[in-house]
């Protein structure tokens, strides 16, 4: 990694840290942006790097959200009683209780989601291609309905989350930095991971799983670890988002398969799947466009978004990164030799 690229990454990080102070009104929006980046990166691990297109990654998001909520509330109240009151019990957490609960909640959410991924891997990772996609989508939908039918966690009424202690502004900044940290950690982890043998292994699985298996690769193990990695970070994101939102319920907040669940995929495709920076770019661009259309094209925003997705998919499947690779291969360290006797590709002799 060159010095220049290092400097630029540090610059981005600095911008990220400064953002809530420069644009205080936009703190929550940018926090969600970091979450979207995390979504895209974790999806790409499965879909882009490994070729297992999952439509149900959002399952771990929602699961983490609920595990965290139950932990936070369970430490102070009786959970069943609390949820049965559907918000009638006034939540009264001290500062210490809140942060302790949150810390433990996030930890358990991450571990719980990982454990769930390990279990589901045994069931679902045997499926290939579109069946895997539909199977995971089904799992996410089933999770939403089962949660909605379970009275202990509030069922369809949802759970009112504990209120963040501290003034307005503090809460946004706090969650902003939590999301920033989560996204950065995810990025650093994945960057390291893709550089190891693991990265090569999952790429091999993507390119031809049967051959990889025939060459002696324990595909099952690699697939499971990949999914558990995604689940770990998604669980954290879910726990944080639930707290940031203040109120969670199964269909709309925890398991939004048809919004966040599919956005994950769209963002990664937009940026270019299978690359490290593709998902990040794609998420940033997608989210920005979404926010702009939501504000200025009210009533038409989904049409605009749908057209964007279609255009992206139809004309632009390699995504931004792929397009860049085509146009400017030099940026990627690829030298294009001119064919002897004919004009050079970029015009020079």
């Amino acid at each position: 990694m060159t010095r220049r690229s290092l400097l630029l990454q540090v610059a981005i990080l600095a911008a990220g840290i400064a953002a809530p102070f420069l644009f205080p009104g936009h703190t929550l929006q940018v926090a969600v942006l970091w979450m979207m980046i995390l979504f895209a990166m974790t999806w790409d691990t499965m879909g882009g790097q490994m070729g297992y297109n999952s439509l149900g990654n959002i399952l771990y998001f929602g699961f983490g959200m609920y595990v965290c909520a139950v932990t936070q509330i369970g430490m102070v109240y009786d959970v069943a009683e609390y949820t049965a009151a559907t918000g009638a019990i006034k939540v009264d957490f001290t500062r210490q209780e809140y942060f302790e609960g949150l810390a433990l909640g996030v930890l358990l959410a991450a571990l719980g989601a990982t454990a769930l991924a390990a279990v589901l891997s045994r069931i679902l990772l045997g499926l290939r291609g579109p069946y895997f996609a539909i199977g995971t989508l089904g799992a996410a939908i089933a999770a939403a309905e089962l949660t909605a039918a379970w009275g202990f966690v509030g069922g369809g009424s949802g759970i009112s989350m504990p209120v963040f202690p501290g003034g307005p502004g503090d809460r946004e900044r706090f969650f902003y930095f939590m999301f920033l940290v989560a996204a950065v950690l995810c990025y650093l982890f994945l960057r390291w991971l893709y550089g190891t043998r693991f990265g090569l292994a999952i790429n091999a699985i993507r390119d031809d799983e049967d051959k990889a298996e025939a060459l002696g690769l324990h595909t099952v193990r690699y697939k499971t670890v990949a999914w558990c990695t995604s689940a770990f970070f998604l669980g954290i994101a879910g726990a944080l988002f639930g707290n940031m939102n203040g109120f969670i319920e199964p269909l709309e907040v925890a398991y939004p398969t048809l919004t966040f669940g599919i956005f994950m995929v769209a963002m990664t495709l937009l940026g270019g799947k299978g690359t490290l920076w593709g998902p990040i770019l794609g998420a940033a661009l997608f989210y920005t466009i979404q926010q702009i259309t939501w504000t200025y094209l009210l009533g038409w925003q989904y049409i605009a978004l749908g057209v964007l997705i279609i255009v992206n998919v139809v004309y632009f499947q390699q995504g931004i990164m792929g397009w860049l690779k085509d146009r400017k291969p030099e940026w990627f360290g690829v030298r294009v030799e001119p064919v002897p006797g004919s004009a050079a590709r970029d015009g020079s002799s």
Partner: protein, 300 residues
């Protein structure tokens, strides 16, 4: 839950009601799933906008009833209009994603789905709508079992469609072309089949069938621009359960799904209906994997 089971044993006539409900509901799902199976099998495009085509068809029937005409007569014109729309969508969008990565087609149709939803919302408004078919109900077993005639119409239509499609695919030239393309597009092209036209026709037929299904749904249930998802999900479950290329299997799977949903709704409660459906799908998928694994091991 056990009390509900007891009812079924104590008064077996209600099994008949559940069966009738389930078969007729399943027939409508079958219509939605049939087109999906056809498109998936021939073009390899997984149409996430299926449910939204259905809703669009529903609005056709609604418009008819709004102008004082019996929406039953809307079924054929709606199918025709949807056929044309399907052709347009094919030319503009689907044509370009067919040759690509299987997964990108899913995403393209997702984009299509949200465009259709919001377009319907803008044109027709967000109100929940219905259309009255004016048909009556049939009472049996002394009013214990009731089935509305419109549901029987739906069932009849489903059976009719199945027969027509099977005959068409088997006997007509275009039908054979479709089957050839489904088996091996390159070979079909080599042999002179215009695969582009085959794809367009298949997609348009799908849209037409969805339109008919939508018209029925407006008469049996309700329509709203954002309610298409339920039908998309069920269509996918049915096609996946039946397995590709197994068109009669799709009908059977759909009918089975309808009945299963009714029973699970009755015994476990309506809130778990969809979870049961999806759970069954997962079971089927995993079972198939186990079978495949055994086959592979046997070969080694």
């Amino acid at each position: 839950m056990w009390e509900n089971l007891q009812i079924l044993f104590a008064a077996p006539v209600f099994n008949v009601q559940l069966l009738l409900n389930g078969l007729t509901v399943g027939a409508v799902f079958a219509l939605a799933a049939y087109g999906l199976a056809l498109v998936w099998g021939v073009t390899n495009v997984k149409n996430l906008a299926q449910g939204d085509f259905v809703m669009a068809g529903g609005y056709g029937a609604y418009e008819f009833s709004k102008h004082g005409l019996n929406p039953l007569y809307a079924i054929v014109p709606t199918a025709a209009v949807m056929f044309v729309l399907g052709w347009l969508v094919y030319r503009l969008v689907i044509k370009r994603v067919i040759q690509l990565d299987l997964f990108t087609s899913l995403l393209a149709t997702f984009g299509l789905a949200i465009v259709i939803q919001q377009a319907l919302n803008l044109v027709f408004g967000p109100d929940v709508r219905t259309a009255r078919s004016g048909l009556a109900e049939i009472q049996m077993f002394g009013n214990m079992v009731t089935v509305s005639e419109i549901r029987l119409v739906a069932f009849a239509l489903c059976v009719l469609l199945a027969i027509v499609m099977v005959l068409y695919l088997k006997n007509s030239r275009m039908g054979q072309a479709i089957r050839a393309t489904a088996q091996d597009p390159r070979a079909a092209r080599v042999l002179g089949v215009n695969t582009d036209r085959v794809y367009a026709l298949t997609f348009s037929i799908n849209a037409a069938i969805c339109g008919a299904a939508g018209a029925l749904i407006a008469m049996i249930w309700v329509i709203q621009p954002f309610y298409g998802i339920a039908y998309s999900v069920r269509a996918f479950v049915i096609v996946t359960a039946a397995g590709l290329g197994n068109l009669p299997g799709v009908i059977l799977a759909a009918l089975g799904l309808g009945v299963l949903e009714q029973y699970s709704g009755f015994i476990l409660g309506a809130q778990l209906q969809q979870a049961t459906v999806v759970g069954l799908l997962l079971v089927i998928l995993v079972w198939r994997q186990i079978l495949l694994l055994r086959q592979r091991k046997a070969l080694q």
